[in-house]
């Protein structure tokens, strides 16, 4: 399980990192925590000859709680999401979800930026960010731009990020809604979701997104609208229509749809209890 050889770079600032990405084109990749990329490299499924490590760039990690929104640096680890008390107060669903990702060792190194940029439908943060209506900041040769999490995912491992762009931060509006839940069905600790649901619920408001039930995360406007009106059955029906699970080692399609319904109902119940 040894990856193919590559040249290693540890630039000290964003401009140098982008310059490396421009210079080496699709031969180059950035590495954050490496806990999705290194397993892929070991399996020789990621082909690259230049690795650009972001750990030497200052200012890419940290959590800032502002007036109406929270900004999280891309290199902030999943462990930091769990241990930040102010964040748990402002956006508690983040901590609830992070606690269900992988295991302690993975969370010490795995970053939020890597989790959302990766594009693996199994990652938990993308669906959550869609539920929260987060915005990603991308920096590239032409400067900075913002992309909504809901517009970012195109297909498995294909996102709106250009090869020479780096995701630097995630901005999350602090939810007014008191009800929230991230519920995930997995076979064991450290497993990706068979199905997971993120729910926000408040006065006349709801937001619903699902994980690992299509080749992208699925945020459903129709399911959210139904739940906002208190129509739980309508919400589940719409969400099940929006997903498109594939058969794999986690089970056949019919089973996944069943689990998706169960998990979404559990998430709604939990969110309702917290909203009350």
């Amino acid at each position: 399980m040894i990856p193919a050889g590559f040249e290693y770079h540890r630039p000290a600032d964003i401009a140098s990192a982008i310059a490396l990405l421009q210079q080496h084109g699709d031969e180059a990749r950035v590495i954050a925590g490496g806990h999705s990329l290194i397993p892929m490299m070991k399996l020789r499924m990621a082909d690259l000859s230049h690795l650009v490590d972001l750990q030497g760039i200052s200012g890419l990690s940290g959590i800032t709680i502002g007036e109406g929104s929270v900004s999280i640096g891309a290199m902030t680890t999943q462990n930091a999401l769990i241990t930040d008390a102010a964040l748990a107060e402002a956006v508690p669903i983040l901590r609830e979800a992070a606690l269900q990702i992988a295991d302690p060792q993975v969370r010490y190194l795995g970053t939020v930026g890597g989790n959302v940029a990766n594009g693996d439908p199994g990652n938990d943060m993308p669906g959550l960010m869609q539920c929260l209506d987060a915005t990603y900041t991308l920096v590239g040769p032409d400067g900075e731009r913002q992309v909504a999490a809901r517009d970012f995912y195109e297909a498995a491992y294909f996102t709106a990020r250009e090869d020479e762009e780096i995701l630097t931060a995630i901005t999350i509006p602090i939810p007014a809604a008191k009800g929230y839940a991230y519920v995930k069905q997995k076979r064991k600790i450290g497993d990706y979701a068979t199905a997971a649901a993120a729910v926000l619920l408040g006065e006349g408001f709801a937001s619903v997104a699902m994980t690992n039930l299509a080749d992208t995360p699925v945020h459903s406007d129709a399911a959210s609208a139904a739940l906002a009106e208190g129509d739980v059955e309508g919400c589940v029906r719409e969400a099940l229509q929006a997903i498109d699970p594939q058969e794999d080692m986690r089970g056949p399609i019919a089973f996944k749809k069943h689990v998706a319904g169960v998990i979404l109902r559990r998430a709604i119940t939990k969110a309702q209890e917290r909203a009350a």
């Binding site: 399980m1 040894i2 990856p3 193919a4 050889g5 590559f6 040249e7 290693y8 540890r10 590495i31 490496g34 806990h35 290194i38 397993p39 490299m41 070991k42 690795l51 490590d53 750990q55 462990n79 992988a102 295991d103 302690p104 060792q105 993975v106 010490y108 190194l109 600790i189 450290g190």
Partner: protein, 164 residues
Amino acid sequence: MSKMHVKLTVNGQEVEGLAEPRTLLIHFLRENLNITGPHIGCETSHCGACTVDMNGKSVKSCTLFVAQANGADVTTVEGLVNEDGSLGVIQEMFREHHGLQCGFCTPGMITRAHRLLQENPAPTEEEVRFGMAGNLCRCTGYQNIVKAILASADALNAQKEAAE
């Protein structure tokens, strides 16, 4: 691919070496430095047998390039002994409570438990189980591992109190 010069602190000592950037930290420790406490169980980031402490975090050294660890401060199970070379508290408690059978998972278990107890000196049984979820054991059924870690917490806290 050309080799790069790496320099890190392992168990309190500065070490240097030449390695291909793709060398995994576990291979560098075991093959270049002859530090064979950290084990290779799965090499796929699942079992935790390769766990070492890096800059105050428990990490799986099979999922980290030595290039990424360049400049880091690493502690392995060998670094957790007392100054006189006798078994450290957690090591002693694993022995006393029969927290191992074949011993293959043990270096990873002890290194992870070390960090867990640094962060949470008085954990509940549930917190120990959750905090140890990245380490697999095929022999013990975990019962005695949990016991050994809870006993370590008590012993370490008693030691701290006595010192005050």
